[in-house]
């Protein structure tokens, strides 16, 4: 897992350097996950440059879907695979999804997003307070609370990425009796 570049000067990374490291990691690991820094710039460009597959993480906001469309365009033209005339396998992972709001027409639906991006769906991560709780303590939600709805959704998505067939459902919060009695409560 290569975290996104956070160096002050993103020019510290060179195309050749990243290529060399990815080539070396390829010989040692089954999966090399390369996170991309925020923004569509050199950092993102280098993160995708040598990719075989790409997971485009988007949320149901106009700005996010728009940037995802630009990234998809770059995956199809600026990667080593694209330059060789091959294709990077692409997947869309939709985060912060609220099925109730989508049903009320207050949020872009999964179908809207998939139709616009024309890219297969890898998973749907429901909007959840568990994500911030985990992030606050510096832990992935999948480890911090593996039973939570977003954690189950991430685990399902990872299994699909590995080639398993997993039903595409939006996991819902399992609310305890106390929670249900007290209604919605702050974390």
């Amino acid at each position: 897992m290569l975290p996104a570049s956070q160096t002050r000067d993103k020019d510290a990374l060179t195309d050749e350097g990243v290529g060399k490291i990815i080539a070396e990691l390829r010989t040692k690991f089954d999966w090399v996950l390369c996170d991309s820094p925020a923004g569509i710039e050199r950092g993102a460009m280098l993160a995708m440059r040598y990719a075989d597959e790409a997971v485009i993480v988007t949320n149901p906001e106009v700005s996010s879907v728009r940037d995802s469309d630009r990234i998809i365009g770059m995956l199809d033209s600026k990667t080593v695979k694209a330059e060789r005339g091959e294709r990077v396998t692409k997947h869309v992972l939709i985060t912060r999804y609220d099925p109730a709001r989508a049903a009320r027409g207050e949020m872009l639906s999964i179908d809207d997003i998939l139709e616009i991006l024309a890219t297969p769906l890898l998973g749907i991560i429901p909007e959840s307070q568990d994500v911030l709780r985990a992030s606050n303590v510096g832990s992935p939600v999948t480890l911090n609370n593996a039973a939570s709805a977003p954690a189950r959704a991430y685990i399902d998505a990872a299994r699909r990425l590995m080639g398993e067939t997993v039903d595409m459902t939006v996991p819902a919060e399992r609310r305890g009796l106390m929670n249900r009695l007290l209604g919605r409560r702050a974390a």
Binding site: P60, D69, R70, A103, R104, E106, D112
Partner: protein, 99 residues
Amino acid sequence: MTMNLLRLLSGRKATAPVARERLQILLAHERGLRGQPDLLATLREEILAVVSRHIQLDPDKVTVRLDRGPTVSTLEVDIEVPNGFEQAKVHAGRRVGAV
């Protein structure tokens, strides 16, 4: 149908269709631009080639920007030139003259 009913009950307007439309317009525009050859990169390379014939330049110090306005667009070319380049050129000229 259910969506409309829910909306009626909640008294709120559905905004998702607006988001969808905004995206479709934005992306239709952006995808159109994407297909074109990279005009700015081509301009930058050719300007760099022409200027380099006369002045030694650091290729990284050449910036070409295009600002799109409603009626006119501005093409901005910014080339940073090291000090003393004129003297270097004069010297070169003299040398040629001497031969």
